[in-house]
């Protein structure tokens, strides 16, 4: 059985029948994905996050990916500055949800792999197998600077990440092992419990450099990235699948992220877009982030720059889903057709805007066949995953008793 088949068999939501999987991105950080000073009821606190998650479970979403942030990006919004740490966030969310798959987003240089593996095993126990790991190397210098000298060169960063993940995978699957590498030395590694999930927690990563894509191809189950067009989405997905298969004989999927402004009329949608992006957008933080991403504004056309910046303000550079329910659904269906497995969504105001999306867009996706109505996808997840607390490997055979004594 292939790795993906094991995930499917285990009823993992990230591998269910829905051709287009849906999740959300960054409900744990202030402003979530929008660099704006527009008014919103959204708060990156636990109460709000629980409300959002309940809505998502009722509508059949697959996952939530939090953002790991140790300080804000600056600007008047101090975008993403106030936030919940993702391991503890996931543990608490796991305690009050039932179906949705959760991720921890971890800056690898900030945490020892033994600590990380133990935390994830603990959350696995709490969630009954609904926790995955999103690895991040740390690319925001002001943030990594706080951890003094922990910021590694780019390629070195991926060597570190590979060794870090090797240790985590051993902690999840072996007992009494030694490890000696460039960055870690583990004497007699041991951990209990191991994650109950089969085969292990889902691994995801969003590295877009060559080293990043190599890392993803070698280790993870989903490669996350931004898409510019359906053509580019298809090309990227094919390239990743080919890379993973040819270099490492592994399967891999892709997953993207988008922002949603969905209104009854196109006019209303663009009016709101205009308000929160063009009128209330935090230009200062956008400048900072464009600089960090090395976006050379001089060498590009004014139109390109404007669009690029607007996409960042609107939803962290994600794909724009702006328009009527039909228009938004059409775009989502196109994403599914490109071979991308799904998309994370962001809203300026989850609690206010998500219900309309769920009521109007999701039925269209079901009609188009890219998602199944909630009841038909529900069956495998809850039951199957709860049914294997101690892993099928520890079979305390009933026959171990003597026949007569």
């Amino acid at each position: 059985m292939s790795r993906f088949e094991i995930f499917r068999e285990a009823g993992n939501p990230m591998f269910n029948n829905n051709q287009l999987k849906l999740g959300i991105f960054g409900p744990n950080v202030n402003n979530s994905c929008s660099m704006t000073l527009a008014e919103t009821s959204f708060k990156p606190n636990f109460e709000t996050n629980v409300k959002i998650a309940k809505m998502m479970e009722a509508a059949g979403y697959e996952c939530i990916v939090p953002v790991a942030r140790w300080r804000g990006f600056g600007g008047p919004s101090n975008f993403n500055g106030e936030c919940m740490e993702t391991y503890t966030w996931a543990a608490a969310m796991a305690a009050v949800t039932e179906k949705i798959y959760l991720f921890c987003t971890s800056h690898l240089p900030t945490i020892h792999p033994i600590v990380a593996s133990k935390m994830i095993s603990t959350i696995d126990g709490i969630s009954k197998g609904r926790i995955g790991l999103n690895t991040v190397n740390g690319w925001f210098p002001n943030e990594m600077g706080m951890f003094s000298g922990k910021k590694l060169e780019h390629d070195k960063g991926y060597e570190f990440a590979a060794e870090w993940l090797d240790v985590v995978l051993k902690m999840w699957s072996e007992q009494f092992f030694d490890h000696k590498g460039e960055f870690f030395e583990i004497k007699d590694g041991w951990q209990e419990p191991k994650p109950s999930q089969s085969p292990r927690p889902v691994l995801i990563n969003a590295g877009s450099s060559k080293a990043g894509m190599e890392f993803a191809a070698k280790y993870v189950d989903f490669h996350f990235s931004f898409i510019e067009s359906m053509e580019q989405a298809r090309e990227w997905t094919n390239r990743m699948k080919k890379l993973a298969w040819e270099e490492y004989k592994r399967e891999i999927n892709t997953f993207t992220t988008s922002f949603v402004v969905c209104r009854p009329t196109e006019k209303e949608a663009w009016e709101y877009y205009n308000y929160y992006v063009r009128e209330k957008g935090d230009d200062e933080v956008t400048d900072i982030i464009c600089r960090l991403f090395n976006i050379d504004t001089a060498s590009q056309s004014a139109d390109f720059n404007k669009k690029f910046r607007e996409n960042f303000i609107a939803g962290w550079g994600g794909y724009a889903l702006v328009g009527t329910p039909e228009q938004v659904a059409d775009k989502l269906i196109n994403i599914a057709k490109s071979g991308v497995s799904g998309t994370l969504l962001s809203f300026v105001d989850y609690l206010e805007e998500m219900p309309y999306f769920n009521e109007t867009v999701l039925p269209l996706l079901e009609q188009a066949g890219v998602r199944k109505p909630i009841n038909s996808t529900e069956k495998p997840t809850a039951d199957k995953m709860g049914a294997q607390p101690l892993k099928s490997t520890s079979i305390e055979a009933e026959v171990s008793l003597e026949p007569v004594q």
Binding site: F176, P195, E402
Partner: protein, 137 residues
Amino acid sequence: MDKWVLYGKSGNPASDIAKAWLKNNGIPSENYSIFQLTREEIARLANLLPGGAKDLVYPNTFSFSLINPQKKTEKEYIHQIHKGELTEDEIIGILGTYPALVISPIITDYKTVLVGYNLEKMVSTFRYVKVKDITMA
């Protein structure tokens, strides 16, 4: 992943303690009664031991009787087996019929076999043990 099997007797302290050790050290095992050992399995196990099948057997009637106070028939074979007059096949045959003669617990992945509870041996055997299948393909 390494799959470990423990053959034991309920109420036998050595079996219970080995079972507890495995469980509490996070090493999954399938646990069976020693009475479920078949002739074929005994042959496989004997093959893995330097002294063959007799290594599986209680060294003397005293140690056997401590564990199996009421088993008189089996007891008679112990002396015979250790005297060295029986062929390997004959011993395996006897053990197949009377698995009570086999020291408990037996812990094996059919590559290594541990006879009886021996903490040091367990510690050294379970270095680098793979307990969960993380298919990386």
